[in-house]
């Protein structure tokens, strides 16, 4: 049984990465997504919970939140605060065009053997071993720290994005330009052009290529005020595109995940990717 424990820890480490494999949903909720003029601020809620957009589980940390200004340069969040269930932060929208706010996280986790002992890679989750005499956990934080004599190296790369778009005045597309790394959102209908009575076309790419056969989940917020969750699951076509028909106006949480074996990390047999966004769909 001793040998099971470290690999169990590895499994926990992998599960702890926010992907749709976890029932809890990580979400960002901007106070508005279309603003008039450049005197505006948006305030964003960030949390992880089952139901959208009710913060009732844990707050999302704000340290890794990035802001991309409409010209592609880096912006900043302000007034960040973390409560029990929800974090919040502000972004000053002082330039016209479309802004991107969110997280881009890459992480490598896994296991290896050293002198017959099982080790894990990646930050270890959970409480430290009980007792003063307990052996220190056999783990290294990063791939670079894997010792030279390690064998049976099994690694998984995770690439996760969670981002929202806010537009001042007319929408622009610089922040939507795919980077070519991992699973990305390439909307043919601009996120600031959505309206409940018109279908939207969203394309998904993996390493710049259309990602076919991915299951995309769309969940409207505000379940408390209706009976059904009203979630839809759509599958991307050969061109990587989904056609979304909105059941009603509202704020929707979109999530898609994928996995393949095309990691750029040596010894990483698997790559897991997820993309999450929040879309505001006004009534016509």
């Amino acid at each position: 049984m001793r040998s099971l424990a470290p690999s169990l820890l590895a499994a926990v480490a992998v599960l702890a990465i926010p992907t749709s494999a976890s029932a809890h949903r990580q979400w960002l909720l901007p106070s508005e997504t279309s603003v008039s003029g450049t005197d505006s601020w948006v305030t964003v809620d960030a949390a992880i919970s089952n139901d959208l957009f009710y913060p009732d589980h844990v707050a999302m940390q704000t340290g890794a939140i990035n802001v991309t200004q409409p010209d592609g340069s880096e912006g900043k969040i302000q007034n960040a605060a973390t409560g029990r269930y929800r974090s919040m932060f502000d972004v000053q929208i002082d330039k016209p065009g479309t802004w991107k706010i969110g997280t881009f996280a890459t992480n490598v986790s896994g296991s290896f053997k050293l002198n017959g002992e099982d080790w894990t890679v990646g930050r270890r989750r959970g409480p430290p071993p009980a007792g003063a005499n307990a052996a220190p956990p056999r783990t290294v934080a990063t791939v670079a720290e894997i010792p030279a004599g390690a064998t049976d190296i099994k690694l998984t790369e995770a690439i996760n994005r969670n981002e929202v778009f806010v537009t001042s005045d007319a929408p622009t597309a610089i922040v939507l330009k795919p980077t070519g790394k991992g699973l990305e959102f390439d909307p043919q209908t601009h996120p600031s052009d959505l309206v409940a009575n018109e279908p939207a076309k969203f394309r998904f790419l993996i390493d710049s290529k259309p990602a076919a056969g991915l299951k995309v989940t769309l969940v409207p917020g505000g379940k408390r005020f209706r009976d059904a969750e009203s979630a839809q699951e759509l599958t991307t076509g050969a061109d990587g595109v989904i056609d979304v028909r909105w059941p009603f106006a509202g704020v929707y949480w979109l999530n898609v995940s994928a996995s393949d074996a095309n990691s750029s990390i040596p010894n990483a047999a698997q790559r897991r990717m997820s993309y999450t966004t929040t879309l505001e769909v006004p009534a016509p």
Partner: protein, 158 residues
């Protein structure tokens, strides 16, 4: 230099001064807190093409950190259809908000003859929002429609 404006005026009398007249009725509402609505009037060519804004009424006097333009996006359909690409104030288009009553707006003379959808959208602070559409033919066809909450009769006439 005075003769030039007079000459222009003379030209305006010789040909129709506008491509028709839109009448927008803002209803009197019995509510606890009333603010005059923001209103946008625009036409969209039926065969497709760029919408053209005819009038935008907003709080032009409110300046500072939260200027009157901040709430133009509450006219959400107009905003999406082209309001967000316009600079305010817009010469000959934008103006102050108006109270309850009938208001007439001339369609620009250079609006090309054809079939359009006339759109009138109103959004009121602490109130509702409504969009009324009327199919019209410029210059000859008349049309009308009536809003239910934020707008009264909207008519187009020669």
């Amino acid at each position: 230099m005075r003769s030039i404006p007079l000459l222009l005026l003379g030209g305006a009398i010789a040909v129709p001064a506008s491509a028709g007249t839109v009448t927008v009725t803002i209803p009197r509402l019995n509510v606890a807190e009333y603010h005059k609505p923001y209103v946008a009037v625009w036409v969209e060519p039926v065969g497709g093409g760029a919408p053209r804004t005819i009038a935008v009424w907003y709080d032009v006097k409110l300046l500072g950190n939260e200027p009157g333009t901040k709430w133009l996006s509450d006219l959400r359909t107009w905003w999406r259809k082209g309001g967000r690409s316009m600079a305010m104030p817009a010469d000959g288009v934008s103006g102050a908000t108006r109270g309850p009553g009938r208001h007439t707006i001339p369609l620009p003379r250079n609006l090309r003859p054809g079939n359009y959808v006339l759109n009138v959208e109103a959004a009121r602070e602490t109130g509702g929002r409504e969009l009324v559409t009327v199919p019209i033919t410029v210059p000859s066809g008349a049309g009308n429609a009536t809003g239910r909450t934020e707008l009264g009769a909207v008519t187009f006439s020669r």
